[in-house]
């Protein structure tokens, strides 16, 4: 009897751990639906999706770094600087549009160039200098935020450029434009990472670096590419950050970082193998956004919302770790 229990316990633990995060979220969404009658309406869904866009696009970048580097938080792939790259790119675009009279295309090109350069700096630090991604991107994140403050003199820049207004208010086939573009980015990222030969190799590198090296894959090149791509997604997210805020505002990076990390690792909890995936990150971003609107709708204090979100990160990551430990 005790032998049966001993065999059954890890499996039970694994099953329990895999169900817990999803169950918590479904319970919360159900609760919001009951307490705030408008919460489950289609208009609310659109608002939730619109609010999720910047986090989702940043999550695409972060998820690719995690997939390439492996999901060991300390030694694996992580890029804490993606939100600061977005903030830096947003600052440059806003400054160019508002203070230098640049054309939208020039401003965006400069913002993107900075984002790619920032991604390249991360790649260099991790693959050439040999820093752990966690420390390297923590340091560069601080530097990128500092740079954005230099660009904007730590002041808000209002924008009413047609590009930003269209991205904020425009629609295509009845769908908000930003949402359509973000969906396009997510679909592209999904096919590149989960359906292409390059993507399978990227996953192989993240899954087992030694095996990938023995198989002849150029591991450092894939890692470097993942940071460059994350930089590019940071650049893309900057446009959504500007559209959402009708300009560039100092101090948004902190919230974006917390929500992006939560969304990306939350996504892992919903994947069958409990690994970070592109779609998982998008789903995570939507859930994080739904939580923000949901908690507000039932009158939960904003500081509690921050505390609860932090608690959820812990539960999800712990459940994921537990599930994997039980699986091995």
């Amino acid at each position: 009897m005790s032998a049966i229990l001993a065999i059954g316990r890890p499996q039970l633990k694994s099953a329990f751990a895999s169900v817990v995060p999803l169950a918590i979220f479904l319970a919360l969404l159900g609760y919001f639906g009951l307490r705030a009658p408008g919460f489950l309406e289609p208009a609310t869904l659109i608002l939730i999706l619109k609010q999720a866009i910047p986090t989702a696009v940043l999550g695409l970048g972060l998820s690719i770094v995690v997939i390439a580097g492996g999901d060991d938080v300390v030694a694996g792939g992580i890029d804490l600087s993606v939100p600061s790259i977005a903030v830096l790119s947003a600052a440059i675009i806003a400054d160019q549009l508002a203070n230098h009279g640049s054309a939208a295309v020039t401003a965006v090109a400069l913002g993107f160039a900075a984002a790619i350069a920032a991604g390249a700096a991360n790649a260099l630090l991790v693959t050439r200098v040999g820093m752990t991604p966690l420390l390297a991107t923590l340091a560069t994140s601080t530097a990128y935020i500092g740079l954005s403050k230099v660009v904007t003199a730590n002041r808000r820049i209002d924008l009413s450029d047609p590009l930003i207004v269209t991205l904020r208010d425009g629609s295509i086939l009845g769908l908000p434009l930003g949402l359509a573009i973000a969906t396009g980015l997510a679909v592209t990222a999904h096919f590149a990472v989960h359906r292409s030969r390059w993507g399978l190799r990227l996953q192989a590198v993240g899954g087992n670096r030694d095996a990938a090296e023995i198989a002849g894959l150029k591991v450092r090149r894939f890692l470097a590419q993942s940071f460059l791509i994350a930089g590019a997604f940071g650049g893309a997210a900057s446009l959504f950050v500007l559209a959402r805020g009708s300009g560039s505002t100092p101090g948004v990076a902190e919230t974006l970082l917390m929500e992006t990390v939560l969304a990306t690792f939350l996504g892992a909890a919903f994947s069958p193998r409990r690994v970070v995936t592109v779609w998982g990150a998008v789903l995570g971003a939507i859930l994080v956004s739904a939580l923000s609107i949901g908690f507000g709708s039932v009158g939960v204090d904003v500081f509690w919302t921050g505390c609860i979100k932090g608690g959820l990160i812990l539960i999800v990551v712990a459940a994921s770790a537990l599930a994997r430990r039980s699986g091995t």
């Binding site: 608002l47 730590n154 208010d169 100092p250 923000s292 009158g299 904003v302 921050g306």
Partner: protein
């Protein structure tokens, strides 16, 4: 509400909430945690909950599309300290009087000449701050002996005292004793708490400090003996919040509202006036 971190925010918020409840209304409170983007996004919650009216306190241009969406759904928006084409009414302090008076008091504290550093992050992005900063500068134009240090300083919107303390320490290194005479916080006074801390830490209390808001925390600093914090303009945030709620009631009662409702402010110069205003505004008694 953009945040409830400090006295002004809390009082304006509670003033509105208490008045709505007193008038028999139900409140759905949201708090941006001093993050203007979170504050703007919180307006979506009002849309989904189909509230009857919105009182939105502070906020930058990020809230405008949200106001527009609320207006399109027929939900009237009332603002506090934020002028918007989509709002029925904005309730605010007399910012014009604030700007000119604190400008005069600053000039007086300098004896008409000297070098002053401005903490002025929001002149370009929040209209109330633009009025306060520009009108203070308008007054200073008549004092050719007063020079505003360039570039102006930009304080943080959240956790302002600690941020301003660090920035003041850097400023003091840049401007050794005898080269800086005053520090003015152009739109509010939470940064001034950190400014005074930095001056005391470095023994540079000869530098005068002026600011705007004058809640109990900063009035207490002004009331201290030989305080470098010499002048402020006291607002009545609770009255601003409750007046905005009353305006909502008037609107539903069919009364016509002016685009703006102004609430009186009380200038404060020196320790004795600080003690007097402290008592007058019901904060207690200072010795």
């Amino acid at each position: 509400m953009v945040g409830t971190q400090h006295f002004w925010d809390r009082e304006a918020f509670n003033g509105a909430v208490d008045k709505v409840k007193e008038l028999g209304g139900e409140v759905l409170p949201v708090d941006g945690g001093r993050d203007n983007q979170v504050h703007a996004d919180n307006h979506d919650i009002f849309l989904t909950n189909k509230v009857d009216a919105v009182i939105s306190i502070l906020g930058d241009a990020a809230v405008e599309p949200k106001f527009k969406a609320l207006q399109e759904k027929g939900i009237p928006v009332f603002t506090v300290d934020h002028l918007s084409p989509y709002a029925i009414n904005n309730t605010t302090s007399d910012n014009y009087y604030i700007g000119t008076t604190i400008g005069r008091y600053l000039a007086d504290s300098l004896g008409g000449k000297g070098k002053v550093a401005f903490f002025n992050a929001f002149e370009g992005s929040l209209r109330i701050c633009g009025i306060r900063a520009q009108l203070a500068k308008y007054v200073l134009k008549d004092y050719p002996g007063i020079e505003i240090v360039q570039p102006e300083l930009a304080e943080a919107f959240a956790n302002a005292p600690e941020d301003a303390r660090k920035k003041t320490l850097d400023l003091l290194t840049q401007y050794p004793k005898g080269t800086l005479d005053a520090i003015h916080v152009a739109c509010w006074d939470q940064p001034a708490i950190g400014v005074v801390q930095a001056l005391e830490e470095t023994g540079r209390t000869e530098i005068k400090v002026t600011a705007v808001d004058a809640g109990p925390d900063t009035l207490e600093i002004i009331a201290e003996k030989d305080s470098p914090f010499v002048a402020n303009i006291a607002q009545q945030p609770r009255k601003i919040g409750s007046t905005s709620a009353e305006n909502v009631a008037k609107y539903f009662a069919g009364q016509k509202l002016l685009p703006q409702t102004f609430v009186d402010v009380i200038p404060v110069k020196g320790a004795e006036e600080a003690k007097k205003v402290y008592a007058e505004l019901g904060y207690g008694k200072l010795n």
